[in-house]
């Protein structure tokens, strides 16, 4: 009887690529000054709701092979009985030598060794959604209207920070963290959407302020240059037949923590290079998902044709390899396994295509 709110939640954009692509003054914490080259990418497959079939895949850049269920096989001695990652894996990120996987319906964070995907520790967190890192801590949004703070050294929860209602994505930018407060749980039960972004101080471990933006903020992205982009999802009328407030993208200047720009369209996925942003919008053009390129300096916008000839109606994940500017895009098809594609910037074409798991959503580049 419960409406399946979670089935079509978008996964977050991979934070680390934005971090690493940004200039050093925006980097609050760097594990190593001299970064090793990126050697592969983890792909998190969200899975179907209530099917317990979330999985983690890994693509090695040297062999260009995909290991479909690296979590399942790395954590079981019997390859015919792979360990199940759980139900609805919404987000992940690499911090230091560890890979943190957020599994929403399994109420847990899996901390894995980033080199081999073996379990280091499992932490119980109620209904976790999204993860970001700052100052040696992991910040995890939870539907309990909290951000859980996990100390990455002791690997224990050290604080819970109250934020807005039904928080979705979280991102680090400069010396702050930004949380999208959607509030759909109230809106779907007769109440109001939230309309704010929470700003968290990662040292004092508390909500510093709230920025009022728009109703139903779902996604937040950081460009690494002091701007945070937030996206509101569509809001329907009472009968759920007409969109009354269409999805919109807003830009926050982190110096003032004020909205300094509003776009005439929404973008539920964003990824950044030094000078450019790639965006996926569901309403830039009516009825189609569109991949857009934006020049960050001139703010000029154009439709991207780098994936031309490929059906883009179900883009579910987007990330950019900071070593070479290659663009990774995942495609979650209904009733079949998802596809992962790489646009090779040097060759100016899509050179790799993989079949991954169900609903591939998040990328994490491994060094």
């Amino acid at each position: 009887m419960k409406i399946n709110f979670k089935i079509s939640r978008l996964a977050t954009f991979m934070l680390l690529s934005a971090f690493l692509a940004s200039c050093s003054k925006d980097k609050p914490f760097t594990p190593e000054e001299q970064l090793d080259p990126i050697s592969g990418v983890y792909v998190l497959n969200e899975g179907d709701f209530r099917a317990n079939n979330a999985s983690l895949s890994y693509i090695d850049f040297l062999t260009e092979n995909i290991t479909l269920d690296i979590y399942g096989t790395a954590n079981s001695s019997d390859p015919t009985k792979p360990k199940a990652l759980g139900d609805l894996a919404n987000d992940m990120g690499i911090y230091g030598s560890l890979l943190y996987v957020v599994v929403n319906e399994s109420n847990k964070i899996e901390i894995l060794n980033a080199s081999n995907a073996k379990i280091v520790k499992t932490i119980n967190v109620d209904q976790p959604r999204s993860i970001a890192f700052h100052s040696g801590k992991a910040f995890i949004t939870s539907y309990k209207n909290n951000v859980f703070v996990l100390d990455t050294l002791s690997k224990t929860v050290i604080a819970e920070i109250p934020v807005g209602r039904t928080p979705e994505q979280i991102v680090a930018s400069g010396n702050r963290l930004y949380v999208a407060n959607a509030g759909w749980a109230d809106a779907n039960t007769g109440g109001e959407y939230d309309n704010t972004v929470s700003v968290i101080d990662p040292v004092l471990l508390k909500e510093e302020s709230k920025i009022t933006v728009a109703g139903n903020i779902d996604q937040v992205f950081a460009d690494g240059k002091g701007k945070v982009y937030v996206n509101s999802s569509d809001i329907y009328d009472a009968s759920w037949s007409t969109i009354v407030e269409p999805s919109r993208l807003y830009r926050i200047d982190t110096k003032t923590n004020k909205v300094d720009k509003e776009y005439e369209f929404g973008a539920h996925l964003m990824a950044f290079t030094q000078n450019e942003a790639y965006l996926v919008s569901s309403n830039y053009k009516a009825g189609d998902e569109t991949l857009l390129e934006m020049d960050l300096a001139t703010e000029t916008l154009k439709e991207s044709d780098i994936f031309k000839g490929i059906e883009l109606d179900h883009i579910y994940g987007l990330a950019i390899d900071s070593d070479n500017g290659n663009i990774w895009l995942s495609d979650a098809q209904y009733s079949q396994l998802g596809k992962v594609r790489r646009y090779n910037k040097k060759l100016n074409k899509v050179d790799l295509t993989y079949t991954a798991g169900a609903f591939p959503s998040t990328f994490a580049f491994k060094r």
Binding site: S8, A51, A84, V103, T122, A185, T189, H268, D313, S335
Partner: protein, 639 residues
């Protein structure tokens, strides 16, 4: 002994029941069969029919629906004493809620019943499941009959029941029946964590259900028969949901209040004309609560209320010994209220008109019918699905080719549809009012061969049916423009080819020893045939290639011993036929012993049951674990 047994069977079978001569395949479980099958609810018993999958969400309170020949639950109509049990909201009737305590027989027709004096509704589904309540039965010279029973067992089950039948006058009797099912529902299961299986206790699967039923039946001076029946069912249960990693049950709750009153009156005016009137008022209340929902009030609660009004008139015309025809007209009014935001409050008027004709000569019978369905929907908010009119024909033949052989050949074709349910059309966000009906065409060819012997081995029956089903415009939810918003659409074709095989028989092994046995087996391929679809030629979910069941029942004097088994082969839980979606086959064995005797003037019976004796860890629906080995004991006195 042999003759005795046969007579008994004949009496307990409904009048229409002539299994071997039926043009549409029919399977029947009598009271005696039901006693032999370790079953406490209708859903337990129907697992033994061939071609049937019971979609069982596990545990004593878990939802259990019937899927016949892989056409999905919405294509089977369920009738209680001749009148349909509907759920206009989602088309799913939970057969776990129907106790066998008051059930005299269960009959499944692929297609429809092959008698003519039935409501138009009885022609309107791909398959038909008939439940018959226990009829008043009085011993010579008695005007009353009592039965008191209690069942206890694992899952904290406590299940007392009481039946009182009273002759009010020569031709009128009253029945009163009540039953309470109380269970904590808890059981252990193994959750596979990679190479380690962890023992987990399934919780929040408790049930507390009370059923009250009263019926007045009688015959009037003009020889017409009538029945009025009141039914009231109140329950509260846990909904443990899917057992997923690190989250093995949820705390959702459900409360049901089902009430109906139904009546029938049947009169044979003369040799030419008979009339059958049916009527029903039905009210279903459902309350759902998720106490862990993360909104400000801290929970999610939804209330649904359905109402149904039903009227039917069926007319039978017997023109000659070989020619009969019937005309039936039914009207349904259905309404659904819910406290969901922006709810449409749909109501539906359904008019069904059916004409049927039967011709028989010597050993050949042919039947044909045409059903016209007219639907009209109104809503208070938003758009309505409007009106629809559909014509659905069927034809069936039965032939006994040899006079000296009990061989019956049958074949049928039936075209039918299911209308979109209220959920399909109006459910928040995903409902779509532009849906077309989902159509099913069924083709079947089969035979029954019976052989009686003048030996210890008394008789054997073979049944074989080959079938081909096509589903068109399947109603299914898919994401449209993007993955944020799913919607109901008509998409996809399915083709199902299968064979149902059945062998049954009985033997008298000694003066006091009787043996009954039966085996059913189904082989089928239910394939997705959606043109250009990603899953073309792959198996549809929950449609095993192989499935079967079997039982052996031995009676020695007052003792009874019964062994029965169920098998379901490998199948897939989701559409992509990949390894991670493959579900293991399972084979379950059950055993029971009974003893019945007389003490003074009272009959009593003691029954001990062991279910899943090999303690198999299995699931029917992925992530909904089924219980392992469990026991029940029951005791019954009748007077």
């Amino acid at each position: 002994m042999h003759i005795d047994t046969l007579k008994k069977v004949e009496i307990t079978r409904p009048a229409f029941y002539k299994e071997e001569a039926s043009a549409m395949p029919v399977q029947h479980l009598s009271k005696k069969d039901l006693d032999n099958l370790n079953s406490i609810s209708v859903s337990d018993a129907i697992k033994f029919f061939s071609g049937v999958q019971v979609l069982d969400y596990g545990g004593i309170g878990g939802m259990k629906t019937i899927d016949v020949r892989s056409l999905s639950s919405n294509h089977t109509s369920i009738f209680y004493n001749g009148i349909a049990i509907n759920n206009a909201q989602n088309g799913q009737v939970d057969l776990g809620k129907f106790s066998l305590d008051n059930i005299e027989s269960i009959t499944l027709f692929n297609g429809q019943q092959t008698k003519l004096l039935i409501p138009a509704k009885a022609f309107s589904s791909a398959s038909t499941l008939l439940l018959e309540a226990q009829k008043p039965l009085f011993e010579e010279g008695k005007t009353y009959h009592f039965k008191i029973g209690t069942r206890i067992g694992d899952f904290g089950l406590f299940n007392p029941s009481f039946l009182w039948q009273q002759k009010v006058s020569e031709n009128t009797s009253l029945s009163f029946n009540t039953e309470w099912v109380k269970a904590n529902g808890r059981y252990d299961f193994y959750y596979a964590r990679g190479d380690v299986d962890t023992l987990i206790n399934r919780q929040n699967s408790d049930v507390d259900a009370l059923r009250l039923e009263a019926a007045l039946t009688g015959m009037l001076n003009d020889s017409s028969t009538w029945e009025v029946r009141l039914y009231n069912y109140i329950s509260e249960r846990g909904l443990p949901g899917a057992a997923v990693d690190n989250n093995y049950y949820s705390n959702d709750r459900q409360w049901d209040k089902d009430f109906f009153v139904q009546g029938r009156w049947e009169k044979k005016y003369n040799d030419l004309y008979s009339l059958l009137i049916n009527g029903k008022f039905d009210r279903l209340d459902l309350r759902y609560k998720d106490p862990d929902f993360h909104n400000t009030q801290g929970f999610l609660e939804n209330n649904y209320n359905q109402k149904e009004v039903y009227l039917s008139a069926a007319n039978l015309f017997v023109w000659s010994n070989s020619l009969k025809s019937s005309l039936s007209a039914d009207y349904f009014y259905n309404k659904l209220d819910a406290d969901l935001m922006g709810f449409a409050y749909p109501e539906r008027h359904t008019l069904l008109v059916n004409a049927a004709i039967e011709w028989q000569k010597n050993n050949f019978q042919i039947q044909a019918n045409g059903l016209t369905t007219i639907l009209k929907e109104n809503v208070r908010v938003g758009n309505s699905a409007g009106g629809k009119q559909v014509f659905s024909p069927s034809i069936s033949v039965s032939w006994k080719p040899f006079l000296d052989q009990n061989l019956y050949v049958r074949s049928f074709f039936k075209s039918i549809f299911r209308a979109p349910t209220f959920n399909d059309s109006y459910y928040t966000i995903i409902g779509s009012t532009s849906l077309n009906p989902e159509y099913v065409n069924q083709y079947d060819l089969g035979f029954t061969w019976q052989k009686a012997f003048n030996s210890r081995f008394q008789q054997v029956t073979f049944k074989v049916d080959a079938y081909h089903n096509r589903i068109k415009d399947r109603i299914t939810a898919i994401p449209l423009a993007n993955l944020f918003r799913w919607s109901m659409v008509n998409l996809g074709r399915v083709e199902i080819n299968g064979i149902d095989l059945g062998v049954s028989g009985n033997a008298a092994l000694g003066a006091d020893v009787n043996l009954d046995f039966g085996v059913n087996y189904t082989y089928q391929k239910a394939l997705d045939k959606t043109a250009n679809g990603a899953n073309f030629n792959q198996f549809i979910p929950y449609a095993p290639k192989n499935s079967g069941s079997g039982f052996v029942a031995v009676v020695y004097k007052a003792f009874g011993l019964n062994y029965n088994t169920l098998y379901t082969g490998e199948r897939y839980s989701l559409r992509p036929n990949i390894l991670t979606n493959k579900m293991e086959d399972w084979f379950i064995q059950n055993l029971s012993v009974s003893y019945k005797n007389k003490l003074a003037k009272m009959n009593y019976k003691v029954l001990a049951e062991a279910n899943n004796i090999a303690n198999i860890n299995y699931t029917v629906i992925r992530n909904y674990p089924m219980p392992g080995r469990n026991y029940r004991i029951s005791f019954q006195i009748s007077y």
